[in-house]
């Protein structure tokens, strides 16, 4: 247990630092004293509004989404016993994107766009699971193949929709596809979901460790494999759906953060899952801060920054490892 506290403590500290930075920096830079005053309900009305109603909710949402994606990615990798799996590998983001773009095409508001994205994610989840089940049982390989093909189908539908959309809707749609936190809404649902999953990771972590060694081996060691795999699939889907609904499809976090942490911390899921929540959150928080300030007052799509930050870090770690 003590072996877990040090890395998690360091990651929590990094997350806190990133949170402070993201609240302080922006088109208007605020001093720490002003932030503290605003958090305490004092200070100027303008900076209070800026912090409590604009920056803090967005920062918390960014953290939650990053954490959800990284944890979902780690869960998918265990479920499919495949290191290349990410939260989107089973076509979930495709379904969500089609839902969101349909709502945008219809000119609906951001709440309905989110709702529609969630429905899309759900439809895709059920579709993939139903098809992969087929007449026999499903195996990881079959689930993966079904997911990849369904994702390709969604991709074609998205391209078709972009091709026939009126030009004035295109920028909003493209931003959504690349990930955009400016319509995030309340950060609490994703944050609460993230906290619940991290708490569940503690008692389920050892079973996941065993499952990572193969279904037969896990069953021989007393894991109810079918039930655990169902749970994993549903949990990873719910996390991804929540993340996609909050911030559009942000690539890369779910694939790379779990791997970075495995290279650094080993492969005990009881450590990796909470670490993913913290590190994924921190990465997206930093990326979103950069996306806001680099060409302020214009904003860049956050998905671009996560990749630009993550690719060199990951390649460096991979190069350095044995």
């Amino acid at each position: 247990m003590t072996a877990f506290i040090r890395p998690l403590g360091a990651l929590a500290l990094a997350a806190l630092t990133a949170l402070v930075l993201s609240v302080a920096l922006g088109s208007v830079t605020l001093a720490p004293a002003e932030i503290l005053a605003a958090l305490g309900g004092q200070g100027e009305a303008l900076s209070r509004t800026l912090i409590l109603e604009l920056r803090l909710p967005r920062s918390l949402a960014a953290f939650a989404v990053g954490g959800l994606l990284a944890v979902a990615g780690a869960l998918m990798q265990v479920l499919l016993r495949n290191p290349l799996a990410d939260p989107y590998v089973l076509g979930l983001s495709g379904g969500a994107s089609v839902g969101a773009l349909l709502a945008m095409l219809a000119g609906l508001g951001s709440v309905l766009v989110s709702g529609s994205a969630f429905v899309g994610a759900l439809v895709s989840t059920l579709l993939v699971f139903g098809l992969a089940h087929g007449r026999g049982g499903w195996t990881p390989a079959r689930l993966l193949l079904t997911g990849v093909v369904v994702a390709a189908g969604w991709g074609a539908v998205i391209t078709l929709m972009l091709a026939v959309s009126p030009a004035d809707r295109l920028p909003g749609m493209l931003y959504w596809l690349m990930g955009d936190l400016s319509y995030a809404g309340s950060p609490w649902p994703p944050l609460v979901l993230l906290a619940i999953v991290c708490l569940l990771a503690v008692p389920l972590g050892r079973s996941l460790n065993v499952l990572a060694r193969g279904a037969m081996q896990a069953a021989a060691l007393g894991v109810s494999v079918r039930r655990l795999e169902w749970g994993l699939y549903l949990a990873a889907s719910a996390l991804t759906a929540m993340a996609v609904t909050t911030a559009g499809s942000i690539g890369f976090v779910g694939l790379v953060v779990p791997h970075m942490l495995r290279l650094l911390l080993g492969n005990d899921q009881r450590l990796i899952l909470p670490a993913c929540a913290l590190a994924g959150g921190t990465l997206l928080l930093l990326a979103d801060t950069l996306a806001r300030i680099m060409i302020a007052p214009e904003q860049l799509p956050v998905g671009v920054i996560t990749a630009l930050l993550g690719v060199p870090t990951f390649l460096y770690l991979l190069y350095r490892s044995q």
């Binding site: 990798q77 503690v202 050892r206 193969g214 081996q217 021989a220 060691l221 007393g222 494999v225 080993g266």
Partner: protein
């Protein structure tokens, strides 16, 4: 006292007629060897006995309870499996791998403690791989991996060992050491069922044998009654010469 029983058991090998149903009872202290040519269903039988595959007909009982009705966790405290093939998806060290043998005994909220670590270290020591404890499994040789798989089941300490070709990849010394380790289990009222390709190991170490023919036929009984050259020649479709060394029969294939 743990008894593993197969009643009217027909294993599910796709596209094969039912053949003869198995009625065997593995008592504490017995060492069973399962012999048969490639594809006869030895591995399928072992997995069926472990409850990892559904039989076509019949049922497996652990201490009189149908295996399918027991919780996997309960079963895992009684039955340990050495698999023939294993795949390592994610990197893990040798020590971590041996430690998962304790999984069925720990509650979800429990972490592996000093006692678990001691058992794992002792098992690694017993299999001569304690010096590899920090190494990644992916860097081990085939024989070292095989010994690690055995050490994991030793850490699990089940009442009944189901071993699929436990001497695979092992050098001569470690083959003998492994068979001695398995035979030693019976002193503690444990039982062993193992699939073997080496007739001579079976003749030397097993007290009961089950011969599985590719067409689903089978026969079983005390080892000395089963080690009939004619039956073995028919089993493998191979002519054999027999000698006796140290009182045990030795079979040598001849052209």
């Amino acid at each position: 006292m743990r008894r593993l029983e197969a009643r009217e058991l027909v294993i599910d090998v796709p596209g094969r007629p039912a053949g003869r149903a198995l009625d065997i009872c593995v008592e504490p202290g017995q060492v069973w060897g399962v012999l048969g040519p490639n594809g006869a269903g030895k591995t399928t039988l072992l997995h069926t006995l472990a409850g990892l595959r559904a039989p076509r007909l019949g049922e497996v009982y652990l201490d009189g309870h149908p295996l399918a009705a027991l919780k996997r966790r309960q079963v895992a405290r009684q039955l340990g499996l050495i698999f023939q093939e294993r795949h390592d998806g994610f990197p893990a060290t040798v020590r971590e791998t041996a430690l998962i043998g304790r999984h069925p005994y720990l509650s979800p909220w429990q972490m592996e403690g000093a006692e678990e670590l001691r058992l794992a270290e002792a098992a690694l020591e017993r299999l001569d791989i304690a010096h590899l404890a920090e190494r990644l499994v992916s860097t081990l040789s085939g024989g070292e991996r095989q010994r690690l798989a055995i050490a994991t089941v030793l850490t699990q300490a089940p009442a009944i060992w189901l071993a699929d070709e436990p001497t695979n990849h092992l050098d001569l010394h470690h083959q003998t050491a492994t068979m001695a380790l398995l035979a030693e289990q019976t002193a503690e009222e444990r039982a062993v069922v193992m699939c073997l390709h080496d007739l001579n190991l079976a003749a030397r170490w097993c007290d009961h044998l089950l011969l599985l023919y590719p067409d689903g036929e089978a026969c079983w009984g005390p080892a000395e009654a089963m080690l009939v050259p004619e039956a073995l020649e028919r089993l493998y479709g191979q002519r054999l010469a027999t000698a006796r060394v140290n009182g045990a029969p030795v079979f040598v294939p001849v052209r």
